[in-house]
Structure formats: structure tokens, C-alpha cells
């Protein structure tokens, strides 16, 4: 379960393709409980990532992730930019030692939690990353259906962090857009089969 540079590139290219396809849907999810830009934000970032990695060679997964982190940090903005940027920055640091999925995902989660000062059950992307890390760390297999279910779980939560928190109870009944995009990212990761 260790990620190679090739696999990592495939992962990110698949994610890029998915974001392009789901851009409108992600922004639509962000409309009732946010400001309707999550799809645009992610697409802006992943377009830059795609342009920078598709024809480039990377000596290591760590180098590749560092590039991805920088692109996301400098292109996305909003809340998701620093969160995904920090996730990849932490994964880059970890990948210098290990590219085991459980180590990478745990590092990303720690970065997101630190950056966003949030925890589980606050209706954010953490509610996808956290159960994912947990399963991996107990050496359980994670299916795409599992991830769909992590994403879906945010629907019934009350948002207490990010823009959706302004809605309080009214945020219930909507899937969190950042959870959805994180779901796409992690499903793409599962798919490369590392």
C-alpha cells in the first residue's frame, strides 16, 4: 500500500478530471449552505496542478506533493485552498519517509485539523478524512462505497465551522461541499490501488 510517483500522478489527474466534471455540482452544493464557489475554487486549483504535473517528471512523491501543495495554496484561496494546500504540504513531508496510504492520509488529516481548528462532526471535509484515516490505521480496506457514506454522513450534521456555520440548524439536510470534493479525492486514491 505504498504510493509510487506514477500512481500519485494518476491519482491527481483522475481527481482533476473528476473536479472538472463535477465543478457545477460542487458549486451547487455550496450554494444553499455557502457562497456557491467551491467548484470554481477547486477547478482553478486543479487546473494549475494539471498544467504543472502532466508533462513534468518528479523525483519523488514528496516533490510531486510539494508542487501540488504550492499550486493549491497559491491558486485556490477561500477556505479550501489553505486546507487542501496544507494537506498536501503535510503529505509531502511524510512522503519523504513513507508513502503508505495510512501515513499519508493521517498526515493530511492532521494538517487540515491544525489549519482549520476543527474536529469531526462539524460538517466539514474532516468528516471524510477522519473516518478514512481511522479505517486505514486499523488496516481495514476502504471501498468507494465507504467513502460515499462518509460524505453522506455530513448531510445530517449541523455546521459549526466554515461558512455553513452561519446557518446553524438550517445547514442540516445538505451535504458539505468540501466533504464531497474530499470524497472525490479519496475515491480516486482508492482507485489507483496503491
Amino acid at each position: 500500500m505504498a504510493l509510487t510517483v506514477e500512481q500519485a500522478k494518476t491519482w491527481l489527474e483522475d481527481f482533476y478530471t473528476e473536479i472538472e466534471a463535477q465543478k457545477q455540482y460542487l458549486s451547487d452544493l455550496d450554494t444553499p449552505i455557502g457562497d456557491g464557489d467551491h467548484g470554481n475554487n477547486m477547478a482553478r486549483g486543479m487546473t494549475a496542478v494539471h498544467e504543472d504535473i502532466s508533462d513534468a517528471d518528479f523525483a519523488s512523491v514528496s516533490d510531486l506533493f510539494k508542487k501540488v501543495a504550492m499550486d493549491l495554496i497559491s491558486k485556490v484561496g477561500g477556505a479550501s485552498g489553505p486546507l487542501y494546500g496544507t494537506a498536501f504540504l503535510e503529505m509531502s513531508k511524510t512522503a519523504a519517509g513513507s508513502t503508505e496510504l495510512k501515513d499519508l492520509v493521517s498526515a493530511a488529516l492532521a494538517g487540515i485539523e491544525k489549519r482549520g481548528k476543527a474536529t469531526t462532526n462539524e460538517k466539514t471535509m474532516i468528516d471524510v478524512w477522519s473516518p478514512m484515516a481511522e479505517k486505514l490505521n486499523s488496516d481495514e480496506a476502504v471501498s468507494e462505497a465507504d467513502i460515499d457514506q462518509f460524505v453522506e454522513s455530513t448531510k445530517d450534521m449541523v455546521a459549526t465551522k466554515g461558512r455553513a456555520s452561519y446557518l446553524g440548524e438550517r445547514s442540516v439536510g445538505h451535504i458539505d461541499p468540501g466533504a464531497m470534493s474530499s470524497g472525490y479525492l479519496l475515491k480516486a486514491l482508492v482507485k489507483v490501488g496503491a
Binding site: G36, D37, I73, S74, V76, G77, P82, T86, T160
Partner: protein
């Protein structure tokens, strides 16, 4: 969507270009960014820099408040989207003349995180940076377990007070202390008559019926606390001042500064009528109004509506700060 633009994906750079080209005596572009810095470098020498910024679409905020006596630099993010740390960092560098830089951040998760990352970057290059996170929007309930209140038009009081102090030579520590003194005394509440349309989205963030208004809407169209039928100006004032009164716990004789801010599509005529009613109401409350400002200052694209900001003055030097002369595009 009916807008005078070219490419919806390119509105920010084109706007910043237009702004800088038509105000080259006041601001200049920081190379390779969508951030602007004072043209008058002399005015920054030996002073602490003041940097603010946020998503675009709130013009003249923030770039319109860059200039001697107010901000040193402003960072323009994508529309309604926090700017990125690298751009904020460039603004910090351009504003630092050796005395450090003070950041005025509005309390949105994106702004806070991006500014924090920029602050980390600056500290790695040994630029002393301090900051304040403004959360003046009383429409949102405050709680340590949530994101907390949003930063809206009351932030302009913070810009003005800190800008004046920096201009007079305040240190980074002085500014931090001053910001802590100002912060709890600024509060804002808004009412929207229509939603704003982000160019890349192409349709309004929310819609209201022809006779409907919404109290408490945020500057990105974040939901407010109540929808109801359109009211006369005096009734709107009754509601909004009522909310502020509950927060401030008005006492006769207290002094306040007042900003009536147009959200973008609301004519100045309506803003003045509203201000007239606000002043009547504050007089009824036996408060003394020591400073007033009316206009489209922190807008939300083409949203129709108004926000009302009060700043409780506990120290008369604050009034001097508010009246301190500035050379900006829009103050």
C-alpha cells in the same frame, strides 16, 4: 446575468488594472499579484504597514482605502473568495519598511487561514507581523464553538483608526493594543433587498420576492436572520438599531460613530434617507453622534441593501483617528 465585463473568469485582474491605471497617483500594482500598495512610498517610511484584503466584489473595499493615513496595501482575492497566502505575503513585504506589518483580517474561515499562512511566511523571513480578526456582524450568534461572527463594514472603522495611528508613528505593539480596544466596540447589522450575482456563477446567490427583504445578510450573501415584507425606512431603522441597542446596551450620553453603507445597487438617495432616520433614532436614545459616513463603502457586487455600523467611542482620541486626513481613492 447582465454585467459590464469581458470574461467572467478574468474580472479581478481587469478590475485591478482599471483601478490602478485610473489612480496611479495613489496606488500601484505589486508585480505578479492582484494586490496594490501605496504609490506614496514616502508616507510609509519608518511606519508600521497596515495590510488588509479579502475576496473581490466589495469595491471600493479594500483597494480604495489604500493611501497615506489608511492602508499600506490591499490584496484582492477572487470574487467573494479569500486571497491566497503568497499574494498576502507579497503585500506584507511591499508594506514593510522595517517597522513590521499589522494585518486586518475579516473573520471568515478562508480569510483567517490564508492570512495566517501568510503571517507564517513573513515570520520565516523575519518580518514582524501582528493581526486582528474583525467580527462585527451581530446577525450571527457568537459562540466559541463556531466560526463566530463575520467581518463586515465595521471593519472600515478598524482600518481608519489603525491607519491614522500608524501614520502618527504607532509601533506594532501599540497597534495591537489599539485594535483590541476598538474591536469590541464596532458592530454592524445589514438588510438586503436583493441578492448579489457572482460573475462566474451567473445567477444571484439568493432571491427575494418583489416585496420581501432579509435582515442580517452577510456581505457574500450569507443568510440573515429573518425575511419579511418590505418596510418603510423608519421601520428598518427601528429593527436594526434595536438589534444594535441590545448588543451595545445603549446608555444615554454615550458617543458613537456611524457608518451607513450601501451594498452596491442601492442609490445614495435611499442611504441618506435611511441615515436621516438613524440619526433621529439615536437622538431618541440620547446618544451623541460624533462621526458619520454614508456611501457605497463595502459593497456586495450588485446587491441592493444597506448595512449600519456603530462604533462606541470610549476615548475621544478615536474621533481624531476617524477624522485624521487620508489620501485614498474612496474614503
Amino acid at each position: 446575468m447582465k454585467k459590464i465585463i469581458n470574461d467572467p473568469g478574468n474580472v479581478v485582474p481587469e478590475m485591478v488594472q482599471g483601478l490602478v491605471r485610473s489612480n496611479s497617483d495613489i496606488v500601484e500594482l505589486i508585480p505578479n499579484t492582484e494586490a496594490v500598495v501605496r504609490a506614496d512610498k514616502e508616507s510609509m517610511k519608518g511606519k508600521v504597514g497596515i495590510v488588509s484584503g479579502g475576496g473581490s466584489g466589495h469595491e471600493p473595499t479594500h483597494a480604495g482605502f489604500v493611501g497615506k493615513g489608511m492602508l499600506s496595501a490591499a490584496v484582492c482575492g477572487e470574487v467573494f473568495t479569500s486571497p491566497t497566502p503568497d499574494q498576502i505575503f507579497e503585500a506584507i513585504k511591499a508594506s514593510n519598511t522595517g517597522s513590521g506589518v499589522f494585518l486586518v483580517i475579516k473573520n471568515y474561515s478562508g480569510d483567517v487561514m490564508n492570512f495566517e499562512m501568510a503571517q507564517d511566511m513573513a515570520e520565516m523571513e523575519d518580518i514582524p507581523v501582528k493581526s486582528v480578526v474583525v467580527d462585527d456582524d451581530i446577525a450571527v450568534e457568537n459562540s466559541t464553538y463556531t466560526q463566530g461572527r463575520r467581518g463586515v463594514a465595521g471593519t472600515l472603522f478598524m482600518h481608519k483608526i489603525l491607519g491614522a495611528a500608524a501614520d502618527l508613528g504607532a509601533s506594532l505593539d501599540d497597534l495591537e493594543a489599539l485594535s483590541k480596544q476598538v474591536l469590541p466596540n464596532i458592530k454592524t447589522i445589514a438588510v438586503a433587498l436583493s441578492g448579489a450575482t457572482v460573475p462566474e456563477v451567473g445567477k444571484p446567490g439568493f432571491t427575494l420576492a418583489d416585496d420581501e427583504i432579509e435582515y442580517g445578510v452577510g456581505i457574500h450573501g450569507e443568510p440573515g436572520y429573518r425575511r419579511e415584507k418590505l418596510q418603510p425606512s423608519k421601520a428598518l431603522v427601528e429593527e436594526l438599531v434595536g438589534k444594535l441597542k441590545a448588543e451595545f446596551n445603549f446608555k444615554p450620553g454615550e458617543k458613537y460613530a456611524v457608518i451607513v453603507n450601501g451594498m452596491g445597487a442601492t442609490p445614495l438617495m435611499e442611504q441618506y434617507i435611511f441615515m436621516n432616520d438613524v440619526l433621529d433614532k439615536l437622538a431618541d436614545e440620547k446618544l451623541e453622534v460624533v462621526f458619520t459616513k454614508v456611501g457605497n463603502l463595502m459593497t456586495s457586487l450588485d446587491m441592493a441593501g444597506i448595512s449600519l455600523s456603530l462604533f462606541k467611542i470610549e476615548d475621544d482620541r478615536m474621533v481624531d483617528g476617524l477624522k485624521h486626513e487620508v489620501k485614498t481613492i474612496a474614503w
